[in-house]
Amino acid sequence: MKKDRIFWGTVAPLAAVVSSLLLVSIILILRGANPIEIFQVMISYGFDPRNLVSELNQTVAYYLAGVAAAIGFKMLLFNIGIDGQYRMGAFFGAVVGAAVSLPPVLHVLLIIITAMLAGGLWAAIAGYLKVRRGVSEVISNIMLNFIAAAIIAFLLGEELLGILPEGSQNVQTRPIPLSGQMPTFKMFNGEVYSFLFVAIFVGIAYWIMLNKTVFGFNLRATGLSFRAARSSGVNAPGMIFITTVLSGAIAGLVGLGTLLSDTHSYSMAFPSGFAFTGLSLALLGRNHPVGIFFAAFLWSFLERAAPVLEYEGVPPEIVIVMQGTIVLSIVIAYEVVARINLRQQQRAVGKANVDLVKESK
């Protein structure tokens, strides 16, 4: 039965990727391009060591966004606020990191904790509104994303927390001193963020929390059935709130790889769009930490390989089409798998009953 689960859990995302490739091939053929050639170019470019490094670093951020979304999904929450939570985390992490001086490891830890607190507290607003006021977390989070961006833009004013370095157009926070930076390590002749290990740790902790602890059981129970969880003694509204905050706290970590190992300060140049990406990756990775990792890598790979398509006379936006169709197919594929599973189990139950009847005769 367990083997079955792993089998179907792998077949579904693969089927989604394959059907997406087929669809994209059709589009490419219609444009007069040879899809096999295009895919070969993408693969050879994407697996080039130099590109692998930046893909890996991008994977770290996407992975954390995916895990943040997955925690929400387990509670049937659609955390579209990952964008705002990530901004708040990265910004306040940068501000606090630049304001203090501490011994190396402690300094980094303080930044990480600050970022998680900032992301978590920002998400808590949506959590409170949902539990106490019945406001859909989707609506409040979309608003909160805008508000977060606006607050940070305001706080980045030069009289407040921002500085304008010489020769730069971008206001940014004061740089984090050396003790608050995280090293990179050599891999494929490039510099990979050591924050990768934090991301891996988060993935493992997420899995253990969800599957092995009573807290995780209560979280999943509430997501599966609010009423059954409540009847069993779980403070279900409380669990919804805590889950929202937890999801926000993980989202607060999304920008830290870049911040701690690369830029060392927060600026308006930090990218956006992590919410949609995170939600897509959690969906594709079936809320499983390993699945999300592969999904995050696939996304980074596709995005990294996109620009090269222009040389082949194909618009790089084809990658977005690919991502979109993957997500769409995966939703269908998982539903099909879930139905097959239930039917198999029902058949097994039916068979067991028939056997029992035979025995008693």
Binding site: V214, G216, F217, A221, L224, S225, S231, G233, L342, A348
Partner: protein, 504 residues
């Protein structure tokens, strides 16, 4: 006038249950015909059959003397049969007019709705039958009584000649009931026919022209109000003889494990559900709670489990104040809970059985070890439950949703009776399960009682109540109206108490 509706020999079977058998019914044109019976007597099945929602396995239905076969509500509507459901089916954010025409819009070319024509027709209906409704009011602003009038108007708008009302008074306050009855009188005066379901004997006697009584899936008699009385109706509803209790060792302790003292409970909208309710349960006792559904049983249970706080009065569960104690602590103190709606409240349908074994026991050993879930213990004990309660499943990794309802119920009962609970709140513990499973569940409840646990048995099944209970409390309209000894109770006493009539 002749019979507008003739039902003969209608039968409907579900796997393991006969919902209707040999049902016969003659409804005179222009009359108000009431159908009364206990929960599960088959009233709703019959009404659904008449409205085309269920197809009978056998029997014939004649409308206006013509034999018909109803395949869907559309067929019923075409024949002039309309139904007003107990739970209104209205779109809140649309107007009365929009709701009335929804699904049957008069239109030009099939897509341009003729609002003016519809409004005129609706106003005409309202005037003819004295239904006080405003076509342009938003349904969201309407009270319960008004919504019901909209439902009635909706059915009339579609040209119904026979109206079926499923427990129309269950949701109404007394003044609204009076108003409804005036409306119903108007309808039959204008030549329509009304078929209505109720459990309330007073109402039925005051409004109906004919009363048909159903029991255990079949129609047992049809009476005229002038020729009968409450006593006779109650006896017909409940049956001639009540089952005798299963003899068991009586071991009732002095210890009170559950006590309601002057408990009232009002919902957010101010409607009072429980009123000055008093009830006490001792260890080693099975206390049956009888009553027509919707008289406050669900709220009473949720109060015990700490899921709702009492508005006034106190609920003491194993020495804890249930209004302020979290459900978790009530559970941990030794309260087992077999919920009425097992799929919504008792199970994680898409989780495996072993996880469902943990549910409700996740705050204490052996299902939890500190902060960790003890999967090994859960799997092992699930296997025990499966064996002891004869749950038909190939294993404990099967999803709860893959099991049949009866097996789900056996699993829940087995789970809840693990760990020696002191108080067992059992709501409809054998509803929808087969006879074999019922025997297993009864046996285990009796064993728990012998072992000193107190059981609150909320049931609509009179056989169950009489077989198991040491005492039977009757709840009506949010209060306990009488406490009966099952050995000395006559069916009519119980029937009268349950339907709110004061016994002599």
């Amino acid at each position: 006038m002749g019979n507008i509706l003739e039902v003969a020999g209608v039968e409907k079977k579900y796997p393991g249950v006969v919902a209707n058998r040999d049902v016969s019914l003659l409804v005179r044109e222009g009359s108000i015909h009431a159908i009364i019976g206990e929960n599960g007597a088959g009233k709703s099945t019959l009404m659904k059959t008449l409205y085309g929602l269920i197809r009978p396995d056998a029997g014939s239905i004649k409308v206006f003397g013509q034999e018909v076969s109803l395949k869907s509500p559309q067929d019923a509507i075409a024949l002039g049969i309309g139904m007003v459901h107990q739970h209104f089916k209205l779109a809140d954010n649309a107007t009365v007019l929009e709701n009335v025409i929804l699904g049957g819009e008069p239109s030009r070319f099939g897509f341009v709705i003729k609002y003016e024509e519809a409004r005129k027709k609706l106003l005409e209906i309202a005037k003819t039958y004295h239904l006080d409704i405003d076509p342009d009011e938003s349904v969201a602003n309407l009270g319960v009584g008004e919504r019901q009038r909209v439902e009635i108007a909706k059915v009339l708008f579609r040209g119904a000649k026979i109206l079926i009302l499923d427990e129309p008074t269950a949701v109404l306050v007394p003044q609204e009931v009076t108003e409804l009855f005036e409306n119903l009188r108007d309808l039959v005066d204008k030549g329509l026919t009304v078929l209505f379901i109720s459990h309330k004997l007073d109402e039925v006697l005051s409004i109906a022209d004919d009363i048909t009584i159903m029991r255990q899936g079949t129609t047992v008699a049809t009476k005229k109000p002038a020729e009968t009385n409450k006593k006779e109706l109650a006896e017909l509803m409940v049956g001639g003889e009540l089952p005798k209790p299963i003899a068991g060792v009586q071991n009732i302790s002095q210890k009170s494990i559950l006590a309601f003292k002057d408990v009232s409970f009002s919902r957010h909208d101010g409607r009072e559900i429980l009123h000055n309710l008093n009830l006490e349960l001792h260890g080693g006792e099975i206390l049956g709670l009888a009553g027509v559904e919707g008289n406050g049983q669900s709220e009473l249970i949720e109060l015990i489990m700490g899921l709702l706080p009492a508005t006034s009065g106190s609920v003491e569960v194993l020495g804890l104040d249930a209004s302020t104690t979290p459900t978790k602590d009530i559970r941990n103190a030794g309260v087992a809970y077999i919920p009425q709606d097992r799929q919504r409240d008792g199970l994680l349908m898409s989780a495996p059985l072993w996880e469902n074994r943990i549910l409700g026991h996740q705050f204490a050993t052996p299902m939890a070890k500190g902060i960790w879930v003890n999967k090994a213990a859960a799997a092992q004990d699930s296997t025990r439950v499966v064996e002891e309660f004869d749950v038909r499943t190939p294993g404990v990794n099967v999803l709860a949703s893959a099991l049949s309802g009866g097996n789900q119920q056996k699993f829940i009962v087995g789970r809840e009776l693990s760990g020696k609970p002191q108080l067992i709140v059992a709501a409809q513990p054998t509803r929808g399960v087969d006879v074999g499973a019922q025997a297993i569940i009864w046996d285990h409840l009796m064993k728990a009682r012998t072992a000193g646990a107190g059981v609150l048995l909320v049931s609509a099944d009179l056989e169950e109540l009489f077989s198991l209970s040491d005492r039977i409390a009757v709840i009506y309209s949010g209060s306990i109206v009488s406490i009966l000894n099952p050995l000395k109770t006559t069916p009519e006493d119980l029937g009268l108490a349950m339907t709110g009539a004061k016994s002599a």
